[in-house]
């Protein structure tokens, strides 16, 4: 049996979590359809190609929170299978030998469950390395699930054990800390978003949102492109500070964003009735890194005619697409990561690029985005913290699923249920030996 945080299907809890989300994270977390439970350990469908993993850290992503609070699009509900264990940002140790990856190797997980993990011949997208576009995420020898962390069969990072296909694993260089390594997956997504945006040298860019996604996109943008002025929309003080550190040309508050962009680009302002202001003119590109309706709306209203808006975060809510039509914008999706398909010869794929970035000078700064780490039995506090991260000056909140086990010994771990949660424990640091 494996101690896991399990998300189950409960319409009433979704509604309750959705209703309280605007009020307080501390109400949302207990109401979410989530429970701490002992589950049967996931079984590798093909032991030769699959390994069991023991997570060291697993991040809480904005898409996880949107799922828990019922904010995510219903469109995605067909691409998951209940009950599942969330957690797709994972740094873990392998427990089994695999081809080229011996047991007890520290790895990060590319969570996309594409054709190969599903035991299928590659679809058109997978055959050219565009695994994030896989058409087979609901078939094969796994239950439906777009990623690890949304599939009933694989387990997820918010547990003490999960399984992953050899194809999903990337070895983490020794000198990278766990804190930095757990951010490789979101950084790889940021790399993918920047590559999808295809920013030309000198182009001006708006990044809407300065949470983890926004800051990592900013880092990738500065690392991989010769973008001109980059304006970051940041709500909170700590976000603003880090945006400056990561190379923003301008950092503005959401309520000042349109005005600031207008001033910087000398655009004209459109003042519709009963609708937010928009620009005639504006920046060349915008990346929505917040995923809210308001953020996408701002992005659409801030780019020039013919400009590009890239969806770097999972969109939620309803957005008026009239600007996209009227200004003939390109709206580009950027989901997960790609292995190939858009890369120049010799260019590393999204994951390897992210690992290189984390292994370089950016490593400490990126690792510093981990603001707090919780054991699984403090999941309510962890989710509460994550839901209020910006306001609390935090960025990425992560679980250390093995913390309790290390403290008490594997045999002494009490069985937990949602109805009898463990008492809160102080936040732990993960400043451990990486070996």
């Amino acid at each position: 049996m494996v101690l896991s945080l399990e998300l189950y299907r409960s319409r009433s809890r979704y509604v309750a979590a959705q209703a309280t989300q605007r009020i307080s994270g501390s109400l949302t977390a207990p109401l979410a359809p989530l429970r701490l439970a002992d589950r049967a350990a996931p079984t590798p469908p093909n032991p030769a190609a699959w390994a069991r993993l023991r997570p060291r850290l697993s991040g809480i992503c904005g898409s996880d929170l949107a799922t828990l609070s019922g904010k995510s699009s219903r469109y995605l509900s067909g691409a998951v299978s209940f009950p599942f264990v969330p957690g797709h940002e994972i740094v873990a140790d392998t427990l089994d030998d695999l081809d080229g990856i011996p047991a007890r190797t520290r790895v990060v997980v590319d969570p996309v469950l594409s054709c190969r993990p599903r035991g299928l011949d590659p679809c058109d997208a997978c055959s050219i390395g565009r695994t994030s576009r896989c058409d087979h995420i609901t078939v094969g020898h796994l239950a439906p699930g777009l990623q690890t962390g949304y599939c009933a069969d694989t387990g997820g990072g918010w547990s003490r054990e999960l399984i992953a296909h050899r194809d999903q694993l990337r070895i983490v260089p020794d000198h990278i800390s766990d804190e930095a390594a757990v951010l490789v997956e979101p950084l790889a997504c940021a790399v993918h978003a920047v590559r999808r945006a295809a920013v030309l040298p000198g182009q001006s860019v708006l990044i809407v949102g300065a949470g983890t996604v926004g800051l990592l996109v900013l880092a990738a943008l500065r690392e991989l492109t010769q973008a001109g002025d980059v304006t970051v929309v940041a709500k909170h003080r700590r976000q603003r500070e880090l945006a400056w550190q990561l190379g923003a040309s301008e950092v503005v508050a959401p309520d000042r964003a349109i005005t600031a962009v207008r001033r910087a680009t000398r655009a004209h302002l459109l003042r519709p009735d009963h609708s937010p202001e928009a620009l005639l003119g504006g920046l060349d590109q915008a990346l929505d890194c917040a995923g809210s309706a308001g953020a996408l709306d701002l992005a659409l209203r801030s780019v020039r005619a013919g400009g590009r808006v890239t969806l770097a975060a999972m969109p939620a809510g309803r957005t008026d697409l009239a600007p996209a039509w009227f200004r003939e914008l390109e709206v580009v999706g950027a989901y997960a990561t790609s292995r190939n398909g858009t890369l120049a010869p010799g260019e590393a794929d999204d994951f390897d690029t992210a690992i290189s970035m984390v292994a370089g000078d950016l490593g400490p700064l990126i690792g510093g985005l981990i603001s707090a780490v919780y054991p699984l039995d403090c999941w309510r506090e962890a989710l509460d913290h994550a839901l209020e991260a910006g306001r609390l000056g935090a960025f990425k909140i992560a679980f250390d699923p093995g913390a309790e086990q290390r403290r008490t010994g594997p045999e002494a771990v009490p069985e937990q249920t949602a109805d009898a949660p463990a008492p809160p424990v102080p936040l732990t640091s993960t400043g451990r030996d990486n070996q």
Binding site: R256, T259, A260, R262, R263, R266, A267, H268, L269
Partner: protein, 519 residues
């Protein structure tokens, strides 16, 4: 003038759209405006006399001839303050000029408001200044606001010896005769400021509306000691060489507030029982009124000004007499400088008529206009403190002051140093196509206007050690780099850091306006 002693009652202090009675420390010097001068007994006769017997110029009738093009240019709504009760003196003068033009067979007459980079006036505002008859006859084809961004209606007249480009309204400049009709509320107005500023473009204005000039205008209400006026004068010479100009200047007395508020025109110890009752009633009603109603009431105030002089002819000769009349009404001699200067800032400045007094305008009124109401030396010593009463709400008129909003949010958030602001931001705001569009087609002040308002306070910022606002929005005040105090006593306590515990305090009891000649 009054020195506060034990018998001195609390004194009226303006506080934006409100007022109160404030007790001042013993020994405070209170500078009251001089008594209001009697108005001219027959304004019509005075206008006719000025037109018939101008100074250093042929009579107007001799300058008018059939088939000529006549441009009549007049000051905009920024003066007088509050707006003058109808008929405005400009209406009376313009009607007289038009009548004479008609008699001379002049058909091609253009009326142009000299609003420079101020917002365009609405038809109602133009009608208030010019009267229904003139408005109906000329609007909209032959009566319009000056457009400082219309390349087709601007002309460069030349350059001064200092390399200052003189670019003004083409219709006015190329007319056979330009008649300028002014109301001279303060000593800064009129003379060579009228045409070279009122009809100018940004390209021309930037030569004198800049930080360097403001720092060297001490004060800008004392033209001989004002670098700004020296520049106007040089530009005026260029205008005089190329334009046939007939200047008509008028002055008004100090009857600033209408009868229901006449206690504001009267020294407190001279209040009658009726005025005491009016004070209590007005104060209570003002406090109880919803904000919108309160603003509407204040903005509807019209001053029962009476005209004290009308002069016409050559610009400089006319203006010399005008200045004498302004000084006659406003000048008060005082001995020595104070450590602390106190103002109660009212609800109105030149740039928020029918609008909102935003924080930048509050700063401009206090540190610009009121601080500079002096001759010889500032009322407050160098290193002294200015204490101003005003709520300084974080509030902007979105139509009239769009660039002010951005200036406050973007520019002042970065720096409050006028020179740094000028160097880094002015050009971008001045040429921003959106602001230009709003200036030309909406009712917005030009994009560069908030910069000028901030520069207006440059001399005070340079001169003072501290600026404290009493009863103000702390956030607004802090954004501008000033300090705020809840009460006057708190402000005095805070000021003691700079001027010690026994400061010499001068309270300028204004409005009505007064100008100090500091010996």
């Amino acid at each position: 003038m009054l020195d506060v002693d034990e018998r001195t009652p609390p004194l009226i202090v303006h506080h934006g759209e409100g007022f109160s009675l404030q007790q001042f420390p013993l020994g405070t010097r209170v500078v009251y405006p001089p008594d209001s001068l009697p108005g001219l007994p027959d304004v019509t006769a005075a206008i006719d006399a000025a037109l018939d017997e101008p100074i250093d110029s042929p009579p107007l009738d001799e300058l008018l001839f059939a088939d000529m093009r006549l441009a009549i240019v007049f000051d905009d709504l920024s003066i007088p303050l509050p707006p003058m009760r109808a008929p405005d003196i400009r209406q009376r003068v313009v009607e007289a000029v038009i009548e004479r033009a008609a008699q001379a067979g002049v058909d091609d007459v253009h009326l142009i408001a000299a609003n420079s980079l101020h917002r365009r006036m609405t038809p109602d505002e133009l009608q208030h200044i010019l009267g229904e008859r003139v408005f109906r006859s000329f609007w909209p084809e032959r009566l319009r606001n000056h457009d400082a961004e219309d390349p087709d209606d601007l002309v460069v007249l030349g350059e001064t010896g200092h390399g200052e480009v003189v670019e003004i309204n083409r219709t006015a400049a190329e007319a056979d005769l330009l008649v300028y009709v002014n109301v001279n509320l303060i000593a800064m107005n009129g003379g060579d400021k009228s045409v070279p500023v009122g009809l100018a473009s940004y390209r021309s204005l930037r030569h004198h509306h800049n930080v360097h000039t403001m720092l060297h205008s001490r004060s800008f209400n004392d033209p001989p000691r004002s670098a700004m006026h020296h520049s106007y004068d040089r530009m005026g010479d260029v205008v005089a060489d190329t334009v046939r100009l007939f200047q008509i200047e008028t002055t008004v007395n100090n009857e600033t507030f209408p009868p229901q508020f006449d206690f504001l025109n009267t020294r407190e110890w001279e209040w009658s029982y009726r005025q005491q009752g009016a004070y209590l009633a007005a104060k209570r009603a003002n406090e109880l009124a919803p904000a919108k109603v309160r603003r509407k009431v204040w903005q509807a105030v019209e001053a029962p000004y009476e005209v004290t002089s009308v002069n016409a002819g050559e610009v400089n000769a006319v203006h010399e007499r005008t200045l004498a009349n302004v000084h006659r009404q406003q000048l008060t001699e005082i001995d020595g400088q104070a450590d602390i200067l106190v103002f109660g800032l009212p609800y109105l400045c030149p740039y928020n008529v029918n609008s909102v007094m935003n924080p930048i305008l509050v700063s401009c009124l206090g540190l610009g206009y009121y601080f500079n109401m002096y001759k010889n030396r500032p009322v407050v010593r160098e290193g002294g403190v200015l204490i101003a009463f005003h709520p300084v709400p974080w509030e902007f008129h979105q139509v009239h002051h769009p660039s002010y909003v951005d200036f406050f949010d973007e520019v002042l958030a970065e720096t409050t140093d006028p020179a740094a602001i000028e160097a880094k931001f002015e050009q971008a705001y001045a040429t921003d196509p959106w602001y230009v569009h709003l200036y030309r087609t909406s009712y917005a002040y030009h994009g560069v206007h908030p910069f000028y308002m901030w520069y207006w306070g440059a001399h005070a910022l340079d001169h003072l050690d501290d600026v404290i606002f009493v009863g103000a929005n702390r956030k607004s005040v802090r954004r501008m780099g000033f300090r705020s105090a809840s009460t006057f006593n708190d402000a005095l306590e805070m000021a003691s850091d700079s001027v010690g515990r026994s400061p010499r305090i001068t309270y300028m009891h204004t409005p009505p306006l007064t100008m100090a000649e500091v010996r």
